[in-house]
């Protein structure tokens, strides 16, 4: 896939999110869990970035496994790129969730809520991965980082399933409940748009690794 195609993917993603914003602003219900407030509209972005961000961490774990099996640097670059973008998306998830909670729960954060705490744990684990991965550009660090990524991924399904595994005092399940009425098209566009922007960002980051590697190889020959 050439670079113009990747950029087109990113542009299509932004257009889809823009279209979603139109439907969110004009047609989506502001009433969630019986509370009518415009902040509820954050749902359309909060859930999309969370789902795509967490799905990206699965891709990172697969790429890390492929790196350990083949030692091809491209897989290590892919894992780092996925984690860097997912980390940004999970940061957005936490920030948007916190703003929503401030208006609906009258609290920025609830330590007693397992979904919030497990999501924060994921954020810290992958922040540690990024710090570790960038300490040196050599194969030994990349291999350890790949093992880190595989082990870290255990935290992701726990977070995703937390509202169904345990009784959550605050963060309920958003989908499949009668108290939340979702504008299907707006949510689908937001999810598709986020899902298109994500691979574009990963490809941009991956390209940074490839160019840095190319430069290093030229400088090593000098």
């Amino acid at each position: 896939m050439n670079w113009i195609a990747w950029r087109s993917l990113g542009a299509a993603g932004l257009l889809a999110v823009l279209a979603s914003t139109f439907f969110v602003a004009t047609a989506a219900s502001r009433s969630f869990y019986g509370i009518d407030h415009p902040v509820n509209l954050i749902f359309y972005y909060h859930v999309a970035v969370a789902w795509v961000g967490f799905a990206g961490l699965l891709l990172a774990a697969l790429a890390s496994g492929a790196y350990l099996a083949t030692r091809a640097p491209g897989y290590s670059w892919l894992a780092e790129a996925c984690i860097a973008v997912s980390f940004a998306f999970i940061t957005l998830t936490l920030a948007t969730g916190s703003v929503w909670a401030r208006f609906i729960w009258n609290s920025w954060w609830e330590w007693s809520d397992l979904r919030l705490v497990t999501a924060l744990v994921v954020w810290f684990i992958y922040a540690a991965y990024l710090v570790f991965r960038h300490q040196a550009q050599d194969g030994a660090v990349h291999a350890k980082a790949a093992v880190f990524s595989l082990v870290a991924f255990v935290s992701v399904p726990i977070t995703v399933a937390s509202t169904r595994l345990w009784q959550s005092p605050f963060h309920g399940t958003s989908l499949g409940t009668d108290s939340v009425s979702i504008h299907g098209l707006a949510f689908a566009l937001s999810l598709i748009g986020t899902g298109l922007v994500y691979p574009y960002l990963v490809a941009t980051r991956w390209r940074t690794h490839r160019l840095a590697d190319e430069l290093e190889a030229i400088e090593a020959q000098a």
Partner: protein, 51 residues
């Protein structure tokens, strides 16, 4: 605009600005790396090495 409305507006802006900011930062870095590669190649060619 009231305080809550400002917070809400800033949140919606952040949703847009984060991916756009990452794109600008990483694309700029890639342009810089490409320029460095070209310079390094030109330097090697000047010194008589094959490209």
């Amino acid at each position: 605009m009231t305080g809550p409305e400002l917070v809400l507006a800033a949140t919606f802006a952040a949703i847009w600005l984060l991916p756009i900011g990452l794109t600008i930062a990483w694309e700029r870095r890639n342009r810089g790396l490409r320029a460095s590669i070209e310079r390094a190649r030109a330097e090697r060619a000047r010194q008589g090495h094959p490209r």
